[in-house]
C-alpha cells in the first residue's frame, strides 16, 4: 500500500487531481473495520491527518469553524464547543469508545456518509455549513445538502472536506442529543437524534430536529419541525412532534434493529427532547 502524506492542502488537492483513485483518509476508523480483503484492494491512500488547514477549532465572525481532521477527543475537550454547542460535545463523547475518539475525525464521519454517523444529526440541527476544497478552489455546501443519498455526498471527484462551520445559535437555544445504540459504548446507532430550538414569548420560535439511522441519509425532521413551530411547549406539542417524526422517516429492518423499533424509539426520543424545550 502506498500512503501519500502531503504537507499542505494545495499539495493534497494536486495529488488527488493527478490520481483520482487515491482514497483520502484521516483516522481510518471506518476503513479498518472493512476487513483485510477490502484493505488489500485499497492500494493508494492520501493521508489528510497532517494538513494544517484541516486542523484546529477557531472562532469566526459567524460562529465557530472546526477543521475536518479534528478528532472527537479534541472536540470533547474543546471548551469553546462545550460552551456554544453542547450537543456536539455529547455526540463526540458517545462515538465508539475512547480509542475510536482518539483517531476518528469529524470530517471522516461526514465523508464516510453512514446514515448512522453520530455527529451528523447534530450538524444538521446546528445548521452547519461544510467547506470543500478542489482544483477550482473552495466552495461551501449547507449541511442539509451534503448527504445526497445512501453513502453519497456532495463531494465532487478531486474535492477534500476542509472545515465545518457552525453558526452562533440564537440566544436561549436548547440543544439535545440522544444516541440509541446497541450497548453503552463501542456501539453503532440504531437511532440517533439531535435538537436545537428556542422559545420566545411562550411559543417555539425556532426548531431544528434531525435524526440518523432512520433513512438512507441523516435527515432533518421537517414535518415534525413544522408541526410544532409556533406552538407552546408542553406535552401535547411534544407528542405531536414525536408522532409526526415517526411518520416522516423510512427506517428499515437490518442486523442492528427493526423498522418498528426505530420508529418507536424515534417517537419517544423526539417527544422527550421537545418536552425539554422551555
Amino acid at each position: 500500500m502506498i500512503a501519500l502524506s502531503p504537507r499542505s492542502l494545495d499539495e493534497a488537492v494536486r495529488h488527488l487531481a493527478d490520481d483520482p483513485a487515491l482514497v483520502p483518509v484521516a483516522g481510518c476508523t471506518d476503513l479498518m473495520v472493512r476487513g483485510p480483503e477490502a484493505l488489500h484492494r485499497m492500494d493508494r491512500v492520501l493521508d489528510l491527518l497532517g494538513l494544517p488547514e484541516l486542523r484546529g477549532i477557531c472562532a469566526v465572525s459567524e460562529g465557530l469553524e472546526i477543521g475536518a481532521a479534528t478528532t472527537f477527543t479534541e472536540i470533547r475537550h474543546s471548551a469553546a464547543i462545550r460552551a456554544a454547542f453542547p450537543a456536539l460535545t455529547a455526540a463526540a463523547e458517545q462515538v465508539g469508545g475512547w480509542q475510536i475518539q482518539n483517531r476518528g475525525t469529524l470530517g471522516g464521519n461526514l465523508a464516510n456518509a453512514s446514515p448512522a454517523g453520530d455527529s451528523l444529526p447534530v450538524l444538521l440541527a446546528l445548521d452547519a455549513t461544510v467547506i470543500l476544497a478542489g482544483p477550482a478552489g473552495q466552495r461551501e455546501v449547507r449541511m442539509d445538502g451534503f448527504h445526497t443519498g445512501y453513502r453519497k455526498t456532495a463531494l465532487a471527484p478531486g474535492e477534500i472536506l476542509v472545515r465545518i462551520r457552525l453558526p452562533h445559535p440564537p440566544a436561549g437555544t436548547v440543544q439535545a442529543f440522544r444516541k440509541v445504540g446497541t450497548r453503552e459504548a463501542q456501539a453503532i446507532s440504531k437511532v440517533v437524534v439531535a435538537l436545537a430550538g428556542h422559545v420566545e414569548g411562550g411559543r417555539i420560535a425556532g426548531i431544528r430536529l434531525a435524526a440518523g439511522s432512520v433513512a438512507a441519509t441523516p435527515v432533518r425532521l421537517r414535518a415534525a419541525e413544522a408541526a410544532i413551530l409556533g406552538s407552546s411547549p408542553g406535552l401535547v406539542t411534544a407528542e405531536r412532534a414525536g408522532r409526526t417524526a415517526a411518520r416522516e422517516v423510512q427506517p428499515i429492518d437490518d442486523v442492528r434493529s427493526t423498522a418498528d423499533y426505530r420508529r418507536f424509539a424515534l417517537e419517544r426520543v423526539v417527544r422527550r427532547m421537545v418536552l425539554g424545550l422551555t
Partner: protein
Amino acid sequence: MNGIGASPPRPDGFAKVSGAARYLDDLSLPGMWHGATLRSPHAHARIRSIAWDAALAPDGAVCVTVGDLPGPNGVQLIDDGWPILAGAFTHHVGEPVALVAAPTRLAAQQALQAFTVTYEPLDAVLSLEAAEALPPLYQLGMDSGDVDAALARADLVVEGEYRTGHQEHIYIECNGMIASYAEDGALTVLGSMQCPYYVQKALTHALGLADEQVRVRATTVGGGFGGKEDFPSAIALHAALLARACGRPVKLVYDRHEDIVCTSKRHPTLVRHRTGVTRDGRLAALDIEILMDGGAYTTLSSVVLSRALLHSFGPYRCADVRIRARALRTHTAPNSAFRGFGAPQVEFAIERQMDRIAHRLGLDPLEIRLRNAVAPGDRLPTGQILDAGTSALPCLEEVARRTRFRERRQELEAARARRAAEGDEDQNGAEPRRGIGLSLYFHGAGFTGNGERMMKSPVTARLLPDGRIEVLTAMTDMGQGCSAVFPQIAAAAGGLLPEDVTFAEPDTAEVPDSGPTVASRTTMIVGGLIARVTAALRDRVLEGLPGHTVRDGWIESPAGRVERFRDAARRLRAEHGPVELTLRHEPPAWQTFDETTYRGAAYPTYAWGADVVEVEVDPDTLAVRPLQVTAVCEVGRAIHPTLCAGQIEGGTLQALGWALLEEMKLEDGRYLNDRLATYVIPTILDSPRIDVHLLESHRDGGGPFGGPFGAKGVGELPMDGGAPAVAQAIENATGIGVPAIPATPERLLAWQRAGQTPGGVR
C-alpha cells in the same frame, strides 16, 4: 498452612498482561506456509464439481480437496459423522469445501480465487419449527412416576414455551493451529485447544497414523468457553492435510470474521413446559419437551442434550416427571459445547416457568422457590438422593437476606403501581424504571453419567533429578486458572511448598490422557487425582521412615524436622533412577447411572447458586441496563477464592450478554451478525457491579463425594443463573413478559404490543 483458600498470584498472569505470552499466531516455524479455507456459500447444495486452476494460484500455492483425504472423511469425536471437508453435498453455510496453502497469508487468501465450484442449491431446513417434523440427530427421554395422573390431579396446570438463541464464545484468541511433519512422517500439531487428546485422536483416525506418530501440544490458550473443545480437531486436520500436501509446516489461523462464520455456537433451544401444581404452590408434575438446534452434524449434541435433560427440572422436588429431548438437524453450522453445555438453556426455561406459576398463584418468586427447592436427602427426578452439600436453600436464603429481596421487590412493585395510578407516567419522568429479579440454579460437576467411569483419567507424578515433583496432566489453562490452582492442590496434599512442585506443559508426547479440559471437571476430578498422586509419591519418598510426615516442605519425625523433602527426594531419584506413579480416577462406587432409562446418579455432586439482579429499563428506548448482581454460590470449597469469584463474575457477565445483547440473526442459513461490530457483547460500561459470596459446604462435611479438599466444579455454574434473573427483573420493571432471550429492546417492544405479561399472553 496448606495454601488452600489462599489466593496466590497466577503464574501465567504477568506474561499475559505484559504481552510476553506467545499465542499460536505469535509462533512461526522455519519454511512455514499459511493455509486458507474455501467455504460453502449455500446452506444446502449438491457439489457438482470443484476445479482448481493452478495458473490462477500465486506463488506455487497447493490445494487439498475431499479426494485427497488419505482416510475416512470424518472428524473423530463421539462418532465421525462430521466431515473434514464437504463431500458430495454441503450442509451449511461456511462448511469447508477445499483448502489451500501458500507462502503468505495474503497469497493463501488470493489462491482461493483459483477454485471454481459448481453448486446445485437444494431446499434447506433453517429453523427448529421446520426441523421438528424431521428425524432428529439424537433423542432422549426420562420418566419418573405417572405424569398424566399427576397432571389430572393437580389444582392448576401451567403451560409455557421458552426460547434461547445462539451464543458465540468470543474467546479473545481466535482458533488456530500449526501442523508440521518430520522427515520420518511423524506429525506435530501446535495450537489453541482445550483437549489435546481429542485432537490427537482425530488426527490418528483420519490420517491413518499411530498414536506415537502424532504429537499435539497446546500453546497458550486465549480463552475457550467450550469453543475449543471440538473445533480445534477440525482445524488441526486441515492444517495437517495442507502440511502433507506442500511438504512444509502450515499455519491455519482464523480471523474473527471467519471464526464467527464457521465455528460452533451455543444451541438455540425451545423448551415446552406443562406443569401441575398444588394450590399452595408445590410442584406436582413436570412435563418437559426440549428441542435443541444441533445444526448440520451431531458433533457433541448428544451429550449436550443429555446434560440439558438432566438439568431441565431445575433444583426442585417433583416425583412425577416426563422429559422428552431432541437435538434437531438444520442446515446451519453445528452447534456444540459452550460453558454450561445445555444447562443454561433449560434452566432459563424452568426458572421462567417457576415465575409464571408464582404469578398465577399470587406468590412471590422467592416463596415459590422456597417451597420447592431440594434439600439434603431429597430425590431428584432421576432417583438420585442428594448429599449433605445440597445447598439450594442456603444459597436462596443468603441471597435474599443480602439483597433484602422481598422488601426491595415490594418497593419496586409499589412504585410501578403508583406510576400506573398517576396516569401518564411519562410526564414526570425520564427516569428509568427499576426492577429486581431472582434465580436459583445448580450444575452437575464433572462428566455426565458414566463418562468419568469410562475415561478412568490418569494423572502421573514423577521425581525430577533436583528432587521436585513434576505432575503431568493434559489440562490446558484457557484463563480459568488451573495453572494457579493445581500447584496449590499438589503442595497442600503433599505437605510441600509450591516451589517443590512443577507441572508439565500439555503435550501428548509427555503427559497422560487425563481427559479434556471441560465439564467443570478440571479442579474437581483432575485436581482430586493430583492430590492423590502427589501424596502417593510423597509416601514413596517416606518409605522406610515410619511415623514421619511432610509439612511445609520438611520431613518431620515426632521429634521435629529431619530434612528438606527435596533433599530426600533427590537422593531417592539418584539412587533408584526414575520414580514415577500414575493413578486413575475412580468414581465413587455408589455413583451409578443407567444410560437407557436415565435413572441414577448422573453426577457425583452438584454446585449451587442463587442470583439477584437489579436492572433499570429506559422508558423511551426499553434498553435494559443491569445495575447490580448479587451471586451466592456454593462451591464445596474455594481452592483459590479470587479465581473462583472471578469465574463467577465472568460467567455471570457472559450470561447477561446472552440474556440482553447477543443476538445471532440468520438469513438463508447465513449468520448476519458475523463481526464484532454486529455481534454485540458487553463492554465494561455494560457490566453491572457483581458481588460474589461463596458458600463452602465442606465446612459442614461436604457430601459423600469429595473433590480435593471438598472442592466442586465451578466453571459453568454461573452461566446458569444470570439470564432468568434478569428476565424476571425486566418483568418487575416493565410488566412486559419475557419468554425468550436475548431480551433486546426490539423484542420487548414486540412482546409489549403482543400482550405478553409475566403470566403469559394476555
